[in-house]
């Protein structure tokens, strides 16, 4: 297990691994999302209180779940990057942030669209909504911090620190519906009681679980692809990148500014 893990941390091995895995994840993810959304929109019955408005959960709930999961994954990658100085984990941190920001924005927008007919307002300053908005700003902070540094390794490690410190917000978002008297409803899916005895009708629950699983797989595929890009960019001048037959990187450094972040900028104690 550990040898496999260490081998995977080497950029060429990871690149080939991702090249094989990502298409499957993408196809499976899109198929599940498609089936889940189709069943949710056309097969599942209308809610007895909310009518057809509830159907937005088939987009909203997966997006909201991913907004938290992506942040958690990003900070775990950040910890790996800082503790084991693994370059691949640095790439993972900075490539996860835009995906997470997109899911967070999607969750906020779908929530607002649902809130207007159901609550009567697009936005209320409620604990769940506000903390989700703070999460979006945390993602934007990571993206902005990454662009503030010109050296990609320093930038990625600064982002890793920020992701680690910002992870305190994740439990706040998740438990906000329990800690504060929130207008947003509590969690229907995640509790020991709800798993053995679901609080949702199976005809509504099944499409939701499908679109959620599909979203996770889709995220996995997008993340792998973005990481592949990040690895290629960082390793653009190494031998293995030239060997996989991509078009050559356009003329290196006309003004003699040293390109950092490629091979040869390894730091003390680096792995892979």
């Amino acid at each position: 297990m550990w040898t496999w893990f260490h081998r995977l941390a080497s950029p060429p091995t990871f690149y080939r691994f991702a090249e094989r895995l990502a298409p499957w994840l993408l196809v499976a993810g899109l198929a599940l999302i498609g089936a889940g959304v189709w069943q949710g929109l056309f097969v599942a019955p209308a809610d007895y209180q909310q009518g057809d408005a509830f159907r937005i959960i088939y987009v909203h709930v997966p997006a909201a779940a991913l907004s938290l999961s992506v942040y958690t994954a990003m900070s775990v990658a950040g910890a790996v990057a800082l503790i084991w100085r693994m370059k691949l984990a640095e790439v993972a941190v900075v490539t996860a942030a835009p995906i997470g920001a997109s899911f967070t924005a999607l969750a906020l927008v779908t929530g607002m669209l649902w809130g207007k007919p159901t609550w009567g307002a697009y936005w209320v300053w409620d604990a769940r909504l506000t903390s989700e908005l703070v999460l979006l700003f945390l993602y934007l902070g990571v993206i902005g911090l990454h662009q503030a540094y010109s050296d990609p390794r320093t930038a990625a490690r600064a982002c890793a620190w920020l992701a680690l410190v910002g992870v305190v917000n994740v439990p706040i978002v998740h438990y906000s519906v329990q800690w504060w008297n929130s207008l947003h409803q509590g969690s229907t899916l995640l509790s020991a009681e709800a798993i053995t005895n679901p609080k949702m009708a199976p005809s509504m629950l099944k499409p939701l679980l499908m679109s959620m699983a599909g979203s996770y797989l889709f995220f996995g595929a997008v993340w792998l692809r973005r990481m592949q890009n990040g690895v290629l960019l960082r390793e653009r001048r190494s031998k293995w990148v030239r060997e996989i037959g991509l078009p050559a990187w356009p003329a290196d450094v006309p003004n003699g500014r040293p390109l950092s972040g490629g091979p040869g900028t390894a730091r003390r104690g680096d792995r892979a």
């Binding site: 800082l82 506000t130 903390s131 703070v134 700003f137 945390l138 934007l140 902070g141 902005g144 911090l145 662009q147 503030a148 540094y149 010109s150 320093t154 490690r157 600064a158 620190w161 920020l162 680690l164 410190v165 910002g166 305190v168 917000n169 706040i172 730091r267």
Partner: protein
């Protein structure tokens, strides 16, 4: 340990030589608090409702003001590099620097806050809670700001980055700080939000100097 004391004393000594500079956050705080009554209409009862938030957000912005320059001068004159290579844990040195920063920029705000609170129409009970919430909360603000300053000190294109990084991280302190005063105003016990502020304080005093040290080493190393 002597190095930690030396860093702390150095900060105070530098500040004492530039008296105008450490008075700035306090003046800024007063002006921010003054702008709200002008905007809301002074006789409106809304002012009393907003008073906890005005004072808390004012403190937050004033704390942010000083943090921006926290490592800049040390970076320019090379003493930051001496701290990096010193034979003392960098986290302790940063903690000493931040403690001095709190004493210079935030402690005056905490002391001035009862005056502002009374001025904005709060009663004596909520003003005491306001004082305690700021006493517990401002070190968290300063330490969070110090961490963000460490993240951006080496960044050539930082610009507006620091407030953008810091403000989302500071929201829990504002939520519980404002919440404590609001509870006191409406006659409820403010203990729970104050305990939350204490927990945040314990977390930020112990963990953030280490994170700041790591970020600083990364930015400059």
């Amino acid at each position: 340990m002597s190095a930690v004391v030396a860093v702390f004393q150095r900060e105070l000594r530098i500040a004492l030589r530039r008296r105008a500079e450490w008075a700035q956050p306090l003046v800024f705080y007063g002006i921010v608090a003054l702008l709200f009554p002008l905007g809301i209409a002074p006789e409106s009862p809304a002012l009393k409702v907003f008073a906890p938030t005005i004072i808390w957000v004012g403190a937050l912005l004033a704390a942010l003001l000083g943090v921006e320059r926290l490592f800049r001068g040390d970076l320019d004159d090379g003493s930051l590099e001496q701290m990096l290579i010193a034979d003392v844990p960098l986290a302790l040195l940063i903690a000493a620097k931040l403690a001095a920063q709190w004493l210079l920029t935030a402690a005056p705000l905490v002391i001035a806050s009862p005056l502002l609170g009374l001025g904005l129409g709060l009663d004596a009970g909520p003003v005491m809670v306001l004082f305690w919430s700021l006493l517990l909360g401002t070190p968290t603000l300063i330490f969070t700001g110090g961490f963000a300053a460490a993240l951006t000190v080496g960044a050539p294109r930082a610009g507006m980055m620091l407030p953008i990084l810091v403000l989302p991280l500071m929201t829990p302190a504002v939520i519980f700080g404002g919440g404590a005063v609001r509870a006191a105003v409406s006659g409820l016990p403010p203990d729970a939000p104050l305990y939350f502020l204490g927990a945040l304080l314990a977390l930020s005093l112990t963990l953030l100097p280490m994170a700041a040290a790591g970020a600083l080493r990364n930015a400059l190393g």
